[in-house]
């Protein structure tokens, strides 16, 4: 909260948080196994969309500006990266750098205009820009975006640097980092390292004077303006940083699978990142990543459940009951995973506006009061040491 606190205890706690985060991310292939999610493609997605959501959170979580067109930067990043693969080299670093620059410029232009308005009007402006990008990518910009067929690499691409260094290649080369192919686990670890870096940068931003300024914008922009601060450059900085994060995520999507389609820019994709941030906890550091993992997990694992799986899960029930249970549960899995998502989302917004992170915090608080202070029972009507009362609650 106060700057003094940050300087003393905060820094050490941040380093612990970062170390813990890095540990959790890097060991994902291990602890995700019991959940059936320990395969590299999905883990890559976790990391990539984690970056996307963390970046979105820099804008929405800190400044309160709800952008509904963030996927545009994701798409732009993807296209930029694939073009870098096609024209220069299939090494991923130049592609990522190029994507970051292009998406940053894009964000600068869109942010410069959109940030003239606030509230709902800002949301609509960003939505409008993103939809324009999407529609143009599908129609007129086909020479650049390859329209509906998606932009992909071809054998006839120039790849100037690669041809110059290694001579022409007979096949379509796959993307690599100095020889390390961006498929499978190497790809995941590459994304994971970038995710950790992104997390660190987000943390530094949120602790910096810039972060304080952004939070001031969120809590009361009018007051900030009246004190003589021009808040727009700060908001624009947040917008551009957040757009760069999205561009980086898009570039990574292209690195792991060199294919860029316009549907990445559609408003549903923008809505998805909003869901991720809200689900995990807006304004928290870890929240967006948690939300991204949950949504991508549901999308990939939950949607793969079918009636067979359900029958085996509920096999212990009597036949009649089993069929009913399976029929009801069947609504929520497989094709209907959106229903689960929608329900979960609504429940969270209604009862736990701070998302999963707030839930965890509350649980932690309960546990702490339960352990440390038996006196805490006085506050509640039912003392914890009388089970009969507690049971009736």
């Amino acid at each position: 909260m106060s700057a003094r606190f940050e300087a003393t205890g905060g820094a050490r706690r941040d380093h612990l948080l970062l170390a813990g985060f890095a540990l959790v991310v890097l060991t994902m292939p291990l602890w995700m196994r019991p959940f059936g999610a320990a395969y590299p493609d999905l883990l890559q997605r976790f990391a990539i969309y984690g970056i996307f959501a963390i970046g979105f959170n820099i804008l929405f979580g800190l400044t309160g500006y709800l952008s509904f067109g963030h996927a545009a930067f994701l798409g732009v990043g993807s296209y930029a990266a694939v073009w870098a693969f096609k024209l220069v080299t299939v090494n991923v670093l130049p592609a990522i750098a190029f994507a970051i620059v292009v998406s940053g410029l894009f964000a600068l232009a869109i942010g410069y205009m959109s940030l003239r308005r606030s509230g709902i009007y800002f949301s609509i402006l960003t939505l409008a820009f993103a939809q324009m990008c999407y529609n143009l990518a599908y129609s007129v910009l086909t020479p650049i975006t390859n329209g509906e067929t998606s932009l992909q690499m071809a054998r006839t691409d120039p790849r100037i640097l690669d041809t110059w260094l290694f001579g022409p290649s007979p096949l379509i080369p796959s993307t690599h980092l100095f020889g390390m192919e961006m498929k499978g686990y190497p790809g995941f670890y590459f994304c994971a390292v970038l995710l950790i870096v992104a997390f660190y940068v987000a943390m530094r931003i949120s602790r910096s004077p810039l972060g304080t300024m952004l939070r001031a914008i969120k809590s009361n922009q009018n007051r900030l303006n009246y004190t003589g601060v021009n808040s727009r450059p700060y908001a624009l900085a947040a917008f551009v940083i957040s757009g760069v994060y999205a561009g980086l995520a898009g570039a990574l999507l292209a690195c792991t699978d060199p294919l860029a389609g316009a549907e990445r820019m559609q408003w549903t994709a923008s809505g998805e990142v909003v869901l991720m941030a809200i689900l995990g906890g807006v304004g928290t550091l870890l929240g967006p990543f948690v939300g991204a993992v949950i949504i991508k997990y549901l999308e990939n694992i939950f949607s793969a459940f079918n009636e067979q799986t359900l029958h085996s899960v509920f096999g212990f029930l009597p036949d009649g009951v089993e069929n009913v249970v399976v029929a009801v549960a069947g609504l929520f899995v497989g094709e209907g995973w959106h229903l689960t998502l929608g329900m979960m989302f609504m429940l969270l917004v209604i009862f736990l506006p701070g998302g999963v992170m707030e839930g965890a915090r509350r649980l932690g608080g309960l546990w702490r009061t339960g352990v440390a202070a038996p006196r805490a029972g006085v506050r509640r009507l039912a003392p914890s040491d009388s089970p009969s009362v507690g049971g009736g609650e």
Binding site: G64, L66, M113, R116, R117, S118, G119, I120, Y121, I124, L125, L127, A128, F129, Q131, M132, N135, L136, Y138, S139, V140, L141, W267, T268, G271, V274, I278, L331, E335, G336, H338, L339, L341, G342, M343, F345, M346, V349, I350, P353
Partner: protein, 295 residues
């Protein structure tokens, strides 16, 4: 604030419209497969099937009213005091849930729903106003147009010229003061919300012959109507209507081949382009009021 919110939610609830329309229409379609109606009523039964879409309106009105009131009472009411972002998000979540429920019940494929045979063809609008026979317009769209004019007029008159409407408008400005007068403003907002939902439902039901309904048609309209409302200006009915017409006409205009050859791709983006231009020039849309939905 709530005025703006009502407007947004009205549009959001277009998602619901699809539900009613599907229900009513399949209800009659099932008779088509096993035409009991025909057996029972002969010619009349056949005609009832033919008029499924207009009749579905009769079903839509009470059902949507019920649904709207239930949603307002159960969900929206608790969100009036929460931030705007929460309101938008919870209705967004609701839209996802409803959409999926519709999908689970009606399936994922579009359900074709023809208009009554009597309005199936095109109207020779051109010859009526002396432009020659070449200008024609589908009858159903004409009906739809008149219908929408009637509905808009009714809503406008209701809000403008009745005491009830006056109280509601006052409540939008300052609900506390209205409450202090001893008026149960909460109940009136519930009713207004119900009406909003009914209007959205009617729009959806009448639209079915033009576009076969499927489960995600609501979402597609959601974005567009959101843009329309904001461009028109939050809290202004006239603004929303004006923006709707403006964007619709510009869209059709931009789809003409002559225009397209001049500026390729303009038909894809004209709506958003205009929206951006208007919002940058007029901060609150065409006719928006100050202080509505500005976080």
């Amino acid at each position: 604030m709530i005025g703006g919110f009502c407007a947004v939610t009205t549009q959001k609830l277009l998602t619901l419209s699809k539900k009613v329309k599907d229900e009513s229409v399949t209800f009659f379609d099932s008779y088509t497969e096993v035409p009991y109606l025909r057996i029972w009523f002969g010619e009349t039964g056949e005609r009832i099937i033919d008029y499924a879409v207009p009749l579905s309106i009769l079903l839509a009105i009470p059902l949507m009213l019920l649904l709207g009131v239930a949603i307002e009472r159960g969900l929206i009411r608790h969100f009036y005091r929460r931030p705007h972002a929460d309101q938008i998000l919870v209705t967004f979540g609701l839209a996802i849930v409803l959409q999926e429920l519709v999908k689970a019940y009606f399936g994922a494929n579009p359900i074709p729903t023809p208009a009554p045979a009597i309005v199936a063809g095109s109207a020779a609008v051109g010859s009526w106003i002396g432009l020659g026979d070449a200008v024609s317009y589908p009858w159903w769209r004409l009906v739809y147009f008149l219908f929408s004019v009637a509905v808009i007029g009714a809503v406008f008159a209701f809000l403008r010229y009745t005491t009830f409407g006056m109280v509601v408008r006052a409540g939008m400005r300052d609900r506390e003061t209205v409450g202090l007068f001893g008026i149960d403003i909460e109940r009136r907002f519930t009713i207004v919300f119900g009406i909003a939902v009914v209007v959205a439902g009617l729009a959806g039901a009448m639209y079915t012959p033009i576009l076969s309904p499927d489960y995600h048609m609501g979402m597609e309209f959601l974005v567009l109507s959101f843009v329309v409302v904001v461009v028109g200006g939050m809290g202004s009915l006239a603004g929303a209507v004006a923006a709707g017409f403006l964007l619709g006409i510009l869209q059709s205009f931009a789809s003409m081949n002559e225009v397209k050859s001049l500026i390729p791709g303009i038909d894809q983006i004209v709506i958003y382009l205009v929206a951006v231009a208007i919002l940058l020039v007029r901060p609150r849309g065409l006719m928006g009021r100050a202080g509505v939905m500005e976080a």
